[in-house]
Symmetry: C2
Subunit: 258 residues, 2 copies
Amino acid sequence: MTFTARTPRVAAARKLQRRRDRDQSGRFLAEGPQAVREALAAGVVLELFATAEAIERHADLAAHAEVVSEISEDGLAALAETVQPQGLVAVCEQIDVPLKEALAKKPRLVAVVAEIRDPGNAGTILRTADAAGAGAVIFAGDAVDPYNGKCVRASAGSLFHVDVVRSPLDVVTPLRDAGLQVLATSGYGADDLDSLADDGVLAAPTAWLFGSEAHGLPAALLDAADRPVRVPIYGGAESLNLAAAAAVCLYASARAQR
Amino acid sequence: MTFTARTPRVAAARKLQRRRDRDQSGRFLAEGPQAVREALAAGVVLELFATAEAIERHADLAAHAEVVSEISEDGLAALAETVQPQGLVAVCEQIDVPLKEALAKKPRLVAVVAEIRDPGNAGTILRTADAAGAGAVIFAGDAVDPYNGKCVRASAGSLFHVDVVRSPLDVVTPLRDAGLQVLATSGYGADDLDSLADDGVLAAPTAWLFGSEAHGLPAALLDAADRPVRVPIYGGAESLNLAAAAAVCLYASARAQR
């Protein structure tokens, strides 16, 4: 039996494109072979919807899913948010962990996205943090939902590799209690990144705080952090794009911590 | 007199949203106060279209434009590509320079975007290269048009700060002749970025080659470069997003060259 867009289970899954329904159900959607492969490896796939063609082409993935439901092309179009979903959409259990649990593992590198609303930026930072070896990424305050489809896609699988945490905005004290120095990125930071690297400061376990591109970090977080840090600007640009600044900071820490 | 979407000069300017018309006319559009300010400073604004409200709010900008044409809200909506253009769109002369001219200035840091099709990525790399102190950004081969509206916006003014060059794909020889070592980014590079930094290699004048996120660098460029270089991946991510990788490489050079 092939499910269509009107099949109740497909219609119910489709609702997971909305944050309210994700929050209520504790589930989210992962689409495309890469995300589905990572979700299966993480053991969080509840149901894999796939077209007949995708079941054949990705037989290895279909074999690892407990429930595989064949869907029509219109069913796929209803579930998928991209133009080329490549035939696969998985309903997954949300995987975020409490702050306490993530910090109990004593990560040496943590990224905090504070009130970042843009899902593409948040997902890119998640991917970069994972690449730089971060143990946890904390979505603090009124940040984008990490399970937003665009965030999941921009993370390119990294959502399943690091501890994802959702927390209130006041994260500085628990971070510091976990032995992390807390560095706040700011265009007006007193310390510049290169000086901190020269002085050996970046070798210590570090949590980086990143604010939104439009508003920067909330003042309360900036004040609570150990140091405000600016990425040096050598040319005529006023600032860096948020995800680029995060990449420079996280990799400076990764290099210093080796 | 207030121009509308149907006024011939507005209709003609609107055509600059299309690459063909930009290529034929040698002009492009810059929208919003930041881009318009930079374009005015660069002396390339031919005509500034502004709503009555924007002329009042941005009197300093209007005062510096040789030709200011008041447009209606519908005229603005026709010219602008964003939802919130803030009342200003300027018709500008294209500002790219020949490769020879850019290299004659002996830049110590150059970014090459080779066959990159995504305008947001290209504009972000332009912004990051400017911030890292690069002297030139080269759009090589079948790359996106640097004057594409999305690229102009993502560059956040940096289009007007660095030498922008459009060139054929085979740029390695002229770069090397200009005294630059040519480093090609590749997920499979033999050298990793941290080792090159440790060994002092990055202190030399450098041109970085970046390929598209989907296909990487064309083989001919990868082969012609002095070294293929990979950004080290410390965690579970397969790779970095293109603009993030570019930020890490360009800032590693900037730091080493200080």
